[in-house]
Every structure is written in structure tokens, then in C-alpha cells.
């Protein structure tokens, strides 16, 4: 078997003295789309942020291999340059830095890493306009400060715009579907589907099954109390939607604990 793009083994993470992840094991193959579902507080966002390199989250055990490299040893910017992208659950507002500046700085940092010359302002703008169409984002948002005063939907679209411009190898979408109306959800889903390719791996962290109506995952995992307790195909998402997380929780309670 070829080694997976991302391989997580026994990952334990503490946030502010609270154990959030209690031993995650997960393999994600190149070109696959995985959904990670779970109730609030199960550790979904922690997992997403640890993969992106959030340093304030303390890894207490386990390892993560990304394309055979020790991911946990890489600083956040290096992970980004190696092709990892996190769409934030709560995109950060950065007053004074324009959206287009951030996009261009990020884009050219990647090009530099790949030994390519930076794209000049004109060519870059052309590229962003083209990509912007995909997420139906108004051009005026490019010239505003990053996420400042954006609506919830605009913030999420902006994350997707960054993703389509940066073309990551591994995209982690942290509840990008939360809080979106049906039109915005469709836009986000279109962006995700347009990005789907054998070259690209995606992890969709989501609370709801709704996004998975548009983006059909290869695998669905249920995260509960810091562990992945179920993994199956798309049908698991539907079952969760119908029966809620309580069903998994109670079934789990009946089983003897492994540890």
C-alpha cells in the first residue's frame, strides 16, 4: 500500500491544561475527501488547528506525518508552504492589511518556496479576479481590510477564495459551512468541488450533514470526546443526521472502554 498523504497516530493535545484530543488515529490518502463530524466540544477545531500549526495548543503525545515528514516539527508558515491550508472557523479580522495584499503576499511566499518568481501586480489581479468569480465575491472586498466588517458569509467565502488562489495539497475546512444560508453554502460547496482533484486532499470538519449533500466525501469519521469513534462511508453522515450524535454516544457507552 502506498503511504497516505496524512497519517495521524495517537495524537493527544492539551489546550490550557485541558485534555482535548485523547489519541487520534487517522489516515487520509492523496486525493481523498474526508469528513470529520462531531458534537460541539468534541475536539474537531482543535484537531484542525493543530494540523495547521497553532502553537498555543500543546501536543502531549503522538505523531503526524505529512507526505512522510514530521508535521509537528514544522512551524505554521512552513506547513502552509508545504501545501497545507486551513479555512478558519472564525476567520480573523486584520484592520490595516488589505485582503488583496494578504492574498498576494501569501501567493508569492508559496511561489518563492517553489523557486518561482513572484507574480506582478497586474498578473496577480487577473488571477484573483478569475478565481473570485468561482466564489461569487465582489471585487470591492479585495480592497477592504482582511475580513474587517465582512458578513459571516463573506468571511467564509473569503477563506474559500484564499484556498482556490493558494491551491493547497491538503485543505482543512473548519466548519466552513456553519452559519451559512443556502446560497452561500452552495457557493462554498462549488468552490470545494471545483478544487477537488486527485492532486488535492480535503478534510471537511463539520457539525452538520448539509455540506455533504453537495460535497460527497470518501470517508466520514465521528469525533467524540477527543477520539475518532466511528469511521465509515458517506452513509454514516446520513445516519448521524437522522439519529443525532446521541446514538453514537450511547452505543459507545455500552462498549467496554479500550483504555
Amino acid at each position: 500500500m502506498i503511504s497516505p498523504l496524512l497519517s495521524i497516530r495517537g495524537l493527544q493535545v492539551r489546550v490550557a491544561d485541558k485534555q482535548i484530543l485523547r489519541g487520534i488515529d487517522l489516515d487520509v490518502g492523496a486525493g481523498e475527501v474526508h469528513a470529520i463530524m462531531g458534537p460541539n466540544g468534541s475536539g474537531k477545531s482543535t484537531l484542525a488547528q493543530v494540523l495547521a500549526g497553532r502553537e498555543s495548543f500543546e501536543v502531549t503525545a503522538g505523531e503526524v506525518l505529512y507526505r512522510g515528514r514530521n508535521l509537528l516539527a514544522m512551524p505554521a508558515e512552513e506547513r502552509a508552504r508545504a501545501g497545507i491550508f486551513l479555512a478558519f472557523q472564525y476567520p480573523v479580522e486584520i484592520p490595516g492589511v488589505s485582503n488583496v495584499y494578504l492574498l498576494k503576499a501569501a501567493f508569492n511566499a508559496l511561489r518563492k518556496h517553489r523557486g518561482l518568481p513572484p507574480l506582478d501586480a497586474m498578473d496577480f489581479l487577473k488571477l484573483v479576479r478569475e478565481k473570485g468569480k468561482l466564489v461569487e465575491m465582489g471585487e470591492e472586498l479585495l480592497y477592504r481590510a482582511v475580513n474587517e466588517g465582512f458578513s459571516g458569509g463573506e468571511k467564509k467565502r473569503n477563506e474559500i477564495l484564499q484556498m482556490v488562489v493558494l491551491e493547497p495539497k491538503l485543505a482543512i475546512l473548519d466548519e466552513t459551512d456553519s452559519g451559512l444560508d443556502i446560497d452561500a453554502l452552495r457557493v462554498v460547496a462549488n468552490g470545494v468541488n471545483a478544487m477537488r482533484s486527485p492532486e488535492r486532499t480535503m478534510i471537511l470538519v463539520t457539525h452538520y450533514q448539509r455540506l455533504l449533500d453537495y460535497v460527497v466525501p470518501d470517508r466520514v469519521h465521528v469525533l467524540l470526546q477527543g477520539r475518532i469513534v466511528r469511521s465509515a462511508g458517506q452513509e454514516l453522515a446520513l445516519e448521524l443526521e437522522q439519529r443525532g450524535y446521541g446514538w453514537v454516544e450511547s452505543e459507545l457507552a455500552e462498549q467496554p472502554r479500550a483504555t
Binding site: A52, G53, R54, E55, S56, P75, A76, E77, R79, A80, R81, F85, L86, F88, P91, V92, I94, P95, G96, V97, Y101, L102, K104, A105, A106, N108, A109, L110, H113, A145, Q162, L166
Partner: protein, 442 residues
């Protein structure tokens, strides 16, 4: 210690006041003598005084600063050009070196409508009646202002009669090139009813040279007139800079100040604006960027005396190294100043654990139908923002520089003169670690 310094300045006055422009004119001599007496009575302020609590001016007393008898420095046109702001700001340029006006380096464009832009020294010597109404009367607000009045023999006189507008900004370049020199530049800006002018008061000097600039500026903004005042403090790194700005506003006038404090070892700027009639608008913008052992202090005071005044004040500071920032902003709304709309804000970014800032907003409101508010913050770079940028592949050093620059971006953006704005951007970027990267990625 302080007595010795006081006595030194008193004897300096005795040594050279006879050679000051305008000496021999009775009202000028009286004004100077009275001001010196005021200074001699108080001496330099001590940190025991509330207004000087955070800024110890003791470094002044460690030197024996002297009034240069003439400028010995050969400042070249190239050096002046490097400090100027390009074509758009070259129409009216007055250059002063070591307290002396240098006509050969200056340029006075054509003026119409009876407007005057002149060296104050020349006016005091030849046409003192022009400035008498603006100089006579009233005690100085601080010992430094008194000292300035006693020694002021040079500076700029800008006078706009009713309805006259000077389109091009007036650049006043006050340079100090001689070690251990003290200068007392005095800038007078008089805009009569409906007049309009923009003035850049620019202080600069050599690094590694100790000197003392004790500046004063008086601005009168007549009814419905408009004055845009840029004070660019770009002194050398061993300089002491003290400035007192006094603004008097008449009905429906607009005064907008930008105090940009970048240089000096110790720099203190006081701005006192009196909104003396109805409908005045006063905007005070400020920026301070301090590193090393710098101390940059601003004390501002806006007095709303009559109804329907608007004041807006925004100061932002970046403090690195062991630098200290001081901001004391006071807004006084008198009983008659109903319907005043005042907002005061000061935000500080500390880049190092040794950097410090003291910020003190004071709203004194005696009217009952007003809208007044203030906001103060002191903080460090936001970890969430840093992580967000880094997660996009932007290295930590560039991310930090970007966020630091972004912190002051809005204050810089308020500078309406584009060449000056670009210059300030450049200076701030140069001061930031990795600031040049911001430009490279732009």
C-alpha cells in the same frame, strides 16, 4: 541641579539677547524680559509636577546648551532636497539651520491677496508691527514656552488675510547641525476669516549630536478659516525636543493637526487648542514610533468654550526596546459648550517587554447636552492575527511587521499631503524590523 540649568539659560539670555532680531524695539524687549522672568521664577519643571510626571527633563540640565552665534554647518542644497517632499511641496520652503534663516536654501513662491510668508527674524527686525498683535499679552503656558518667547528671534511668520488661500503647502524646515546648540524656533500662522493654508513644521538634525530644540507655534484660525498643520519631529537620536503649540479657533473654523513624533532621545509636544466660538472643528491626529531608550510624550488639551464644536483626536504609538511613550489627552467642555461632540482615542502597541506607555485620557464636562467619549488601549501583537497570517505561508517576521505597520496605518492614512504620507510610510517601514519586506511584497 535644576537651579544651575536655569541660571545657565538666564546668563545665556544676558550674553546674547542684544543681538536678537528686533532688540531695541521696546515691546519686543519687554516681552522677552517678562518671559525670561517667568521662566526664571519657575525654572525647568520637575517630575513632581502632574504635567511632567512621566517626563523627566533632567537631560536638559546635564548639558550647557548654547545659542549659536551663527551657523557653522555647511548644509547643502542636496541635504535640503533629501528632507523636502518633492515637487508638490517645494513652492514655499523656508530653511533654518541652528536657528538662522538661510535664504539661499529657501524658496518663496509668488503669493497673492496680500498673503505673507516670511522669516520671523526679518519681520521682527524690519516690520515688527506685523506680528505685535499675535505676540503680545498673556503668560506662556509652560516654562519652555516662556523660554521660547524670551529667546525667539527666528522662525516663520505666515499671514493670510481674509479669504486668501495658499494652495501649495508651506514647508518649514528647522535643522540643527551644531553640537550642544539650543534653538527656539517660533512659528506663527495667522489665517483670517475664510483663509486656508497647510503648513509642515519639520524639525530635524544630525544623529549622534546632542542639541536642544525648544519650539513654539501659535496658530490663529479665523472665522470659517481652515489650517492644516503637520508637525514632523524627526530630530537626531541624541536630541531633546520640546514644543508648545497654541491654537485659537474662531467661529466655524477648522484646525487639523498631525503630530508625527519619530526622532529625538526625549521629545515632548504640548498642543493646546481653544475652540472659542460656535461650530469649530478640531482634529488632532498623532503618531509616535519609539525604540531604544527614546521617550516620546504628547500632552494635548482641547477646550470647547462655545456650542456645536466637534473635536476628534486619535493618537497611535508603537514602542519597542526600552522606549517609553506618554499620552495625556484632556478635553474640557465648558458650561456654555452645549452640543459638543468630542471623541478622544489613544492606542498603543508594545513590541518589547521593556517598553512602557503611560496613557491618560481626561474628559472634563461642565455642559449637560454633549456627546463625548474616549477609548484607550495598550496591547501587544495579536496572536490570532499572527497565526492567521502564518497559516497562509507568511513568515513570522513579515507577519509581525505587517501587523505593526497595520496598527498605525489609519493614522498615516489621514495625512492628506500624498508626498508627506509616502515619506512617513517609508520612515515607519524603515524603523520596523523587516519593514522593508512589506514593500517587497506589495
Amino acid at each position: 541641579m535644576s537651579d544651575q540649568a536655569r541660571n545657565h539659560f538666564v546668563s545665556e539670555f544676558e550674553r546674547c539677547s542684544a543681538s536678537f532680531a528686533g532688540s531695541g524695539t521696546p515691546w519686543i524687549e519687554r516681552m522677552r524680559t517678562l518671559a525670561l522672568e517667568q521662566f526664571a521664577a519657575s525654572g525647568f519643571p520637575s517630575p513632581r509636577e502632574e504635567e511632567w510626571k512621566y517626563t523627566n527633563v533632567e537631560p536638559i540640565t546635564r548639558h550647557r546648551f548654547e545659542v549659536p552665534s551663527r551657523t557653522r554647518a555647511g548644509i547643502t542644497a542636496e541635504q535640503v532636497a533629501a528632507l523636502a517632499f518633492g515637487e508638490d511641496c517645494l513652492e514655499h520652503l523656508l530653511v533654518f539651520v541652528d536657528g538662522y534663516y538661510l535664504p539661499s536654501l529657501s524658496k518663496l513662491g509668488t503669493l497673492s491677496g496680500g498673503a505673507v510668508i516670511a522669516s520671523l527674524g526679518e519681520v521682527l527686525a524690519r516690520e515688527p508691527w506685523r506680528v505685535e498683535p499675535f505676540l503680545v499679552g498673556g503668560a506662556a503656558a509652560t516654562p519652555f514656552a516662556a523660554l521660547n518667547t524670551a529667546f525667539a528671534a527666528e522662525g516663520a511668520f505666515i499671514h493670510l488675510p481674509q479669504g486668501v488661500a495658499i494652495e501649495a503647502p508651506i514647508h518649514l524646515l528647522y535643522l540643527t547641525a551644531t553640537a550642544e546648540a539650543v534653538t527656539h524656533p517660533l512659528t506663527l500662522v495667522i489665517a483670517e476669516q475664510g483663509a486656508r493654508v497647510a503648513v509642515i513644521e519639520h524639525h530635524s538634525g544630525a544623529n549622534g549630536t546632542s542639541y536642544f530644540t525648544n519650539a513654539a507655534t501659535r496658530v490663529v484660525v479665523g472665522a470659517n478659516a481652515s489650517v492644516e498643520h503637520y508637525k514632523l519631529q524627526q530630530e537626531g537620536d541624541s536630541a531633546v525636543h520640546v514644543a508648545a503649540i497654541q491654537v485659537r479657533q474662531e467661529r466655524d473654523s477648522r484646525y487639523c493637526s498631525h503630530s508625527l513624533a519619530l526622532g529625538g532621545a526625549l521629545a515632548r509636544t504640548d498642543i493646546n487648542a481653544s475652540l472659542n466660538d460656535t461650530g469649530c472643528e478640531c482634529t488632532l491626529n498623532g503618531l509616535y514610533v519609539a525604540g531604544g531608550d527614546q521617550l516620546l510624550d504628547h500632552h494635548t488639551r482641547i477646550e470647547h468654550a462655545r456650542p456645536h464644536g466637534i473635536s476628534r483626536e486619535l493618537y497611535r504609538g508603537i514602542l519597542d526596546g526600552r522606549a517609553r511613550g506618554v499620552f495625556a489627552g484632556r478635553v474640557i467642555v465648558h458650561k456654555k459648550a452645549q452640543k459638543t461632540d468630542a471623541y478622544l482615542a489613544n492606542h498603543n502597541l508594545l513590541l518589547s517587554p521593556q517598553a512602557e506607555v503611560d496613557t491618560k485620557p481626561q474628559l472634563e464636562i461642565y455642559a449637560d447636552d454633549v456627546k463625548c467619549g474616549h477609548g484607550m488601549t495598550v496591547g501587544q501583537l495579536d496572536e490570532n492575527m499572527l497565526f492567521y497570517l502564518r497559516s497562509r505561508g507568511i513568515p513570522r517576521d513579515l507577519a509581525s511587521a505587517l501587523l505593526t505597520y497595520a496598527f498605525v496605518h489609519d493614522v498615516i492614512g489621514r495625512i492628506k499631503l500624498a508626498p508627506l504620507r509616502t515619506r512617513i510610510e517609508d520612515i515607519v517601514l524603515q524603523r520596523l524590523p523587516e519593514g522593508r519586506l512589506i514593500r517587497e511584497h506589495a
